[in-house]
Amino acid sequence: MNDHRSVGIVMIEDDEGHARLIEKNIRRAGILNDIRHFTDGTTALDFLFHAPDGPAKSGPSLVLLDLNLPDMSGTDILAKIKEEGSPLRRAPVVVLTTTDDKVEIQRCYDLGCNVYITKPVNYENFAQAIRQLGLFLSVIQVPEVEG
């Protein structure tokens, strides 16, 4: 990334513990980008599309998405982000969830998810995966948000 600070990370994860562990490991990978954390789908969508400092209004961003949310399914959020005409349709979405069901994975990629990662229960693997994700985040190019 050319400018680390310009790309915000939006993390939608209902489990506080998971969120904390993810954040810790991303930081350990040396990623210093701003991370905004939401525990439910409604406020997350509101932030994504309507907040003045949200991705739709200002600056490129990357979404970390859990599929099991209390108020809606993560796939609904994914569909909204990736649907035709969405200002965020080019924003990279990383699905990070416990489900490793084949059907679910296929559905997410069909909807346009960029990366699908299963949370390993084994913490070492988990930490490893997140750190690698951090490394990945440090090199990918994130497109600018359209008008």
């Binding site: 416990t98 229960v121 913490y123 930490a127």
Partner: protein, 499 residues
């Protein structure tokens, strides 16, 4: 179903009713027969009495005629003096004597005839005396004397009296006859009434049994219709139930799936933060080391123990427990996922499949020093390859796993075909399974015997779930210490309808 059970429980009362009506019918018949026999006997007796009466009357008339004839002969003799009249008189007299005896015998049964009878005999005797006197006079030629006597005592009155007595006797007989007629009529009426009642009873019995039989027939008809209906809808019902079952099964699968996922989520936290804790103990322990080296007085025994022993021990226990928990959850997930997998039946040569499985775990078999034999030939089966492979590899792996310490391990795999069933038998000479545990070992997370081998108690539960899905069953025959044989029974052709 309603009609069926009605008919079966209603059979006994109907049978009882039929028996009761039949018994009543026979009783009625018997009564009628007895009444008829009695009536016939009465009739016969009556006829006898009628004959008797007529005989008495005839005897009476005859006696009277003879008496009259005797008198007429005397009178003729008196008037004409011809000996032919005398002979006539004697003939009449000779006939009259037995006639009277006969009459006496006939009327002996009736007390009321005794007195007139005696009167008849007495009067006839008196008359005879007079007659014989006049006859004697005529014989001696004293005809005028006889006539004079006759005029004086014509015997007319005596004759008249005799006639009256005869008349009375005849009347008495007729009275008896009339009375017997009346009795006869009464007995006939009684007979008619009895026969009428019997006929009525018979008719009643007929009606009751007819109605009973009709009701029974109707019940039978109804249950037959119900049965036919049931038959017709059976297919549909089976389909419905199968669909229900499939739905329920799906529900359970989904439930297991969701539960295992939701259980996994907190587990990620427990393990993650335990790792964080573990990482955090490192600097702490280093700090203690440094403090001990540089300023031993600030290090308390408690702090040292906590950093060096208590914390690592606690973390170690949390880790092993969560690891186990994770394996269990994964097992549930695996089972539920297996239940959701779509089966794809195909032709499988069992011997080839077994060979393939033993090859894939060859290193394990060799490591454990197991002699494995495959008995050929084996039947060909149409089933799901993946499921069957998992079942057999689990069973074969188990057979090589639980060995008897005292003997060289041997595993024997064979298969046989019976109509409608293919049975695969996996026999080992291992440590065996207590018969009490034969059911338990197929339950999830349950194991049997000494827990000296790694495992979570998942394999056989998985095997059973798979066997059920393939339309089969799994069972075991074993005694503790004497090896075990697992029998997998499968349909020769897997039908995926409703699965």
């Amino acid at each position: 179903m309603q009609g069926l059970s009605n008919a079966s429980t209603g059979a006994n009362p109907i049978g009882r009713i039929l028996i009761a009506t039949m018994a009543t019918g026979f009783l009625a018949l018997l009564i009628a027969a007895i009444a008829a026999a009695y009536a016939i006997r009465q009739d016969n007796r009556h006829s006898d009495w009628v004959v008797h009466t007529y005989r008495v009357e005839t005897a009476l008339v005859e006696a009277r005629r003879l008496a009259e004839q005797q008198e007429t002969a005397r009178r003729g003799y008196m008037l004409a003096g011809s000996p032919a009249f005398l002979a006539n008189f004697d003939r009449a007299h000779d006939a009259l004597i037995p006639q009277l005896a006969e009459l006496r015998r006939l009327t002996a049964d009736n007390v009321r005839q005794h007195a007139p009878m005696r009167a008849v005999i007495q009067r006839l005797a008196e008359l005879e005396t007079v007659q014989r006197e006049t006859n004697q006079l005529v014989q001696e030629g004293r005809g005028a004397e006889a006539l004079r006597r006759f005029r004086a005592d014509s015997g007319l009155q005596r004759m008249q009296k005799l006639r009256e007595v005869f008349e009375a006797m005849a009347r008495e007989e007729r009275r008896l006859l009339a009375r017997r007629d009346a009795e006869q009529m009464a007995s006939r009426r009684t007979f008619s009434v009895v026969v009428g009642i019997a006929a009525l009873l018979f008719a009643l019995v007929t009606i009751v049994s007819f109605l009973t039989v009709r009701r029974y027939t109707r019940d039978l008809q109804q249950s037959r219709v119900a049965l036919a209906d049931l038959n017709a809808t059976l297919e549909e019902q089976v389909k419905e139930r199968t669909a229900d079952l499939a739905l329920a099964n799906e529900e359970i699968q989904r439930f297991a799936y969701i539960v295992s996922h939701d259980l996994r989520s907190p587990l990620v936290n427990v393990m993650g933060f335990t790792a964080e804790l573990s990482a955090a103990t490192q600097p702490l322990s280093q700090l203690i080391d440094r403090a001990e080296a540089e300023a031993p007085h600030i290090v308390t025994e408690e702090a040292r123990l906590a950093a060096r022993e208590d914390l690592p021990e606690a973390i170690g226990f949390i880790r092993t427990s969560t690891a186990k928990m994770d394996r269990l959850i994964n097992a549930i997930l695996k089972l539920s996922r297996e239940g959701r997998r779509v089966l794809a039946p195909e032709m499988i040569a069992l011997d080839q499949l077994v060979e393939q499985i033993t090859d894939s775990i060859r290193h394990v078999i060799d490591d454990r020093g197991v002699t494995l034999t495959i008995e050929r030939p084996m039947p060909v089966i149409v089933s799901d390859r993946v499921a069957l492979e998992q079942i057999l590899s689990n069973l074969i792996e188990n057979a090589t796993k639980y060995r008897h310490p005292a003997r060289a391990a041997e595993v024997h795999v064979s298969a046989s075909q019976t109509p409608g069933r293919v049975i695969v038998a996996i026999r080992d000479n291992g440590r065996g399974i207590d018969p009490r545990d034969h059911q338990r070992i197929f339950d999830l997370f349950r194991r049997s015997g000494q827990q000296d081998q790694p495992g979570e108690g998942i394999g056989l539960a998985h095997v059973r779930a798979l066997a059920y899905r393939l339309g089969g069953t799994i069972s075991v025959e074993s005694q503790l210490g004497e090896g075990a044989t697992f029998f997998l029974s499968l349909p020769p052709t897997l039908s995926i309808e409703g699965a």
